[in-house]
Each structure stands twice: as C-alpha cells, then as structure tokens.
Subunit: 350 residues, 2 copies
Amino acid sequence: MAKVTVLGAGMMGSALCVPLVDAGHEVRLVGTHLDREIVQSLADRGFHPKLGLELPRSIRAYPLESLHEAMQGVELVGVGVSSAGVGWAGERLARFVRPGLPLVMISKGLEWNGESLQLLPDVLTASWPDALRRAVHPAAVAGPCIAGELGRRVPTCVVLTGRESAGLERLSSLMSTSYYHVSVNPDVVGVELCAALKNAYALGVGLAAGLHEARGGQLGSVAMHNYEAAVFAQAMLETERWVTALGGSRSTVVGLPGTGDLTVTCNGGRTSRFGRWLGLGLGISEAVDRMAGATLECLDILRVLSHAMPTLECRGLVRPSQVPLLVHLMDVALAGAPVNLPFERFFGPE
Amino acid sequence: MAKVTVLGAGMMGSALCVPLVDAGHEVRLVGTHLDREIVQSLADRGFHPKLGLELPRSIRAYPLESLHEAMQGVELVGVGVSSAGVGWAGERLARFVRPGLPLVMISKGLEWNGESLQLLPDVLTASWPDALRRAVHPAAVAGPCIAGELGRRVPTCVVLTGRESAGLERLSSLMSTSYYHVSVNPDVVGVELCAALKNAYALGVGLAAGLHEARGGQLGSVAMHNYEAAVFAQAMLETERWVTALGGSRSTVVGLPGTGDLTVTCNGGRTSRFGRWLGLGLGISEAVDRMAGATLECLDILRVLSHAMPTLECRGLVRPSQVPLLVHLMDVALAGAPVNLPFERFFGPE
C-alpha cells in the first residue's frame, strides 16, 4: 500500500484512481482550476459528473489550492491533466519531486518546439532544474483505455513505458489489479508516438461513417467497412514508418499502443465522431461546433505534425510520400480540402 | 480486355465480377452445384439473392454443367468457391489449366494434412499432374473486403499474392478499377495465414459484445471496447508469431492482410456475431444454431490449428504459450469452456 496523488480530475485521471484504490493504495485526487465542479461533486457525494459514475468514497478529492497537503508523504504521483496542461503541471509538481519518487503520466500528445518533436514526459520536466531533470524520468501509461470503462472496471490492458526502465516492473505491479493489466514496454518513443498519432488516424477511419451516411447509407454490416479497414491498415503502416524513423520499435505498433489503441479510439472516441462530421461534408468550423467543446486531440496532433513535417523531411526522417494518408488528413482537417483519400498511393513500397 | 471466368457464384465470387466488368473484361460466372438458385436468378433478372443486389447484366451466369462452354478462350480464371470446395474446384479446373493462364483464388483458409499446414493455392493444385503443378502457381486475393460492399462499389483495397511473382503486377492492373485497388504482396505465406487466422481471432474480439450484453450493458461508446482492443492487439501479436514462425513476413501483419482484414471481420462479419453468442454464454451448439446455417470459418480454422499444434510445437515452430489467446479460443469454441481470457498471459515477452 502506497500513498498516491493524482493531479488532474478529468475523466482519465479520475478513472485511474479506481484501480489504484482497488490495488489497496491511499488515493488523493487533485483537481486543476478546470476541475472545480468535479472536485466539489466528489467531495459532496462521491459522484464524478463527467464519468457519470460514483467513485469509491475512499478517494479523497482536493482542490488545486490544497496540492501541498495532498502531496504529504506521497509515494507515487500520477499526472492526468490535458496534454495542453503538461508544462503547467510540471511547474506545479517541481517542488515536490525528488529522486526515487515515481511519476506516471496519463496525458498523451506531442509537441513541436521548432527543432524536434517533444514527448510529453520531456515537456513535463522541461521547466525543472537540470539536476532534477537528469535524476527523475517520468513513466507513462498508454494503450487502449476508455476512461468510462476503466472507471467501471471493464478488463483493460495498458502498457507502462519510461526511460528509467529498472523501476517499471515494480511500478506496474503497484498499479495492476485483476481487471487492470499493466505490462511494461521500454520503448518510450514508440509508445508515445503511437499514443499521439492514433488520434490523427482515427479521424481518418471515422470519415467512412460520414461518407456512407452522406450517400444515404444505413448502419449495418454492409456499409463502408472496406474503406474503414483500408484506412486502418494504411494508418498502421504509416505509424510504423513514424515510429521507426524516430527511433522507436516496430513491435510496439503491432501491440497494445498501436493496433490496440487505434481500435479503441475508432470504437469509442470523439475523434471518430469528428471524422464522421467531416465525412458528411461539414466544414471544419461547423464540425468543431458539432463537437460541443470536446477536446479534439486529433487537430492538435495534426497541427504539430504539419509544423514538424518540413524539418523532418529536410533531415531525411519522414517524407510526405511515405505518409500520404496523414498528409491528406492535414489537408482535410486543417485546410478544409474535400475528402478524397489517395488510395492509389497506399500500400505501395515506401 | 480479357475473357474472365469465375468459378463459384457465392457472395465473394459474384462480387468480384463487378470490378472485373468495370475494368472492361468479358465476365462469365459459373455456379457450383450449391449455386443453382443464384445462377437461375442471375440469368432471369440479373439479381443476386445472397448479395441482395442487381449485378451488371453483362455478367454471363452459367450452371456447372456449362463449365466447358464458359472456359472457351478464357484468359483469366477466378476461383471463388468455399474453402471446403477448393480441392474439388482444382479437380474440375485441371483440364482447362495451362502454363501462362493466370488463376486467382478468392477462397481463404488453411488445411492440415497430418504433416503440415496447407495453403489453399496448394490445395487447389494438389490433384494436378506433377508437370502442371510445377508450371502453374495460382495467385490469391486477400485483405479487407466485404462482398456486399465490393458489389456496391465501395472503395476497397486488397492485396494480390502468389509464388509466380513476375505476373502479379500485370494481374493486379487487369483487376484494378477506380474503387478496387489491388496491390501486390509477394509474401504468400504471410498473406494466406493472415486471411485464415483473422476468422479465429475475430471470434475473440466478438466475445466482448456478448459479455457486455450479458452484464446488462447497452451499445455505446462506454461498453467493453477496452476488452475488445486488448484482444485485437493480442490477436495481432499472435498472428505475427504464426506468420514469422511459418516463414512469412512481419510487415504483412501490419498492413491490409493483417490489421485491415481483422478490422473488417470484426465490423462486418458473421464471425464476430458468433463470438457474441459465445460471450453471451450460449453453448457451442446453441450458438451454431443461432447462426442459421452460416458458414463458420472460425470453427474450421480453430479445428485445423488444434490438429496442427502438437506437431508444430514438437518441431519448435509455435508453442501454446506464445499464442494464449488462440489456445483459449479453442477451449471455448471447440471444447465448450467458459469464456475467461488469460489477460495476465498477454503482452508479455514471447
């Protein structure tokens, strides 16, 4: 049993508290300034309004102002803020971090700093003093996990990655329960790239549903599943090209972080709903409006990659011709081009 | 323009005639003894009762007795019989086959002859005289393709494989249209294994829907998608193990034949419906009854592999511990064991 503090009381940070409690830990959940209503609701009646779920009452919810109190004696820190808040979270946590204190990130995404793609564990530590940054390497959880399902204890398999590979096995056994299976994958680059890219590619798979409806099609076993499956397969091939070009491992793409996470994002996620609107022929801003304020990680990652592509190409890492699906998704979702996937450029030699 | 004859007027053989006609070929479709009503309906009114679709009237439908007539001047032969009929089809076609006449198989599956796993192109030629068998190497089409969608000209991407790799590019351009994209993959073993295994593994993914319903769950974005995605990812890892153990290429698994075909089979197929019944807790025979006579390739492939496993293990090719998902699916679907996936044995080192 350990004292665990999770920063970020959104859906995923809060859902993670359920297996942590079930694993026997003392769990404190700290909301950001965006989570005030959630913290209040948890404190009042143990109910998480976004998850639509009662959480175990032993989870203690704190407002951000009580972060210091929530970090007393902490033995494991979870970071569950949105990807845009990771730098901020790093600054907030810096004073509590010390060598030997494990940190686990749940946030997913990539940033472009004008020179290279930054993985989120590196964004978290960017503001830390050099000595601390050299001594503490945050771990990260990735793989197919819908928060609402984890909170309801649906069997879920994820991977834990990190540069401090010696501690990962211990951390994984701290977090695992009978329904939350945490396996170790030391390929940080591959895992983080898969976690970020899947949002862009799930948008592509989602287009099919919209195109089908736009033609007057009904839901059913005959729809545009052939189209969806072709996009899925090309997405996996392109993900493999990204991962190997940037130093990750091919096998990460085949497993949970790649095929598993793209599957779940297509089945359960807002990204594919957004893709559906674009497939139906809505313009970008209209499609964004229909999403009623939902965070659209797919647009974030497409923007990051569109900024990064020229430099990466110049360095000989990734050429646009190797990732024709992604290039078309940028055209559609960032520049408003009509959907017209270049299937004839898929599945050829790289 | 070529004279093309397709043997087998079931859903997939017939659907393939649509792009063949659109590619400008003269297309003859020959029904087996199982296809009499289909041939009659096509001849009478151009309607395919199983596809629920009018086919182009230029497709000429023949009963089996007119095979000889339908093969006059043929320049390309398609084999679209069920996997159980492939040996029979080989015998029927032997007298028409000659070196230089391309054959393309659409049937998918594997057979076990007591010594080794047989790919269907080899089953097709098994009865041929040695000289013919050495001279003619059937090609095969695989990848994500629901027949009812291809027949409706939904954009579809497939691969063409075969041992006679020199002819594959020409064959692929003969078959391709603006919506039917045929790329070449010379990895016969990998492509055929993926095509066969996906039925077994889609059964596993389908279990989740049944388990969810059995718990009183509703369809929706919060269901058991985490479970499904974990099964999907483990399926891909195990498929990769099968493919590499038997001499195929890892990259085939990442593309259309692997991830693409499993996706479409989970979304559109009878296999996942059968998995759902087992997940709901029905016994094997009751679940088979509910499928109302549909061909269950998943049971065929599980049976074949259960017969093959002891020999393959003895030869050091595939150990049961490397494919724990498949072993459990055999227990469930062949031996009636309750569904209880061994997630703790997934995603570890092989």
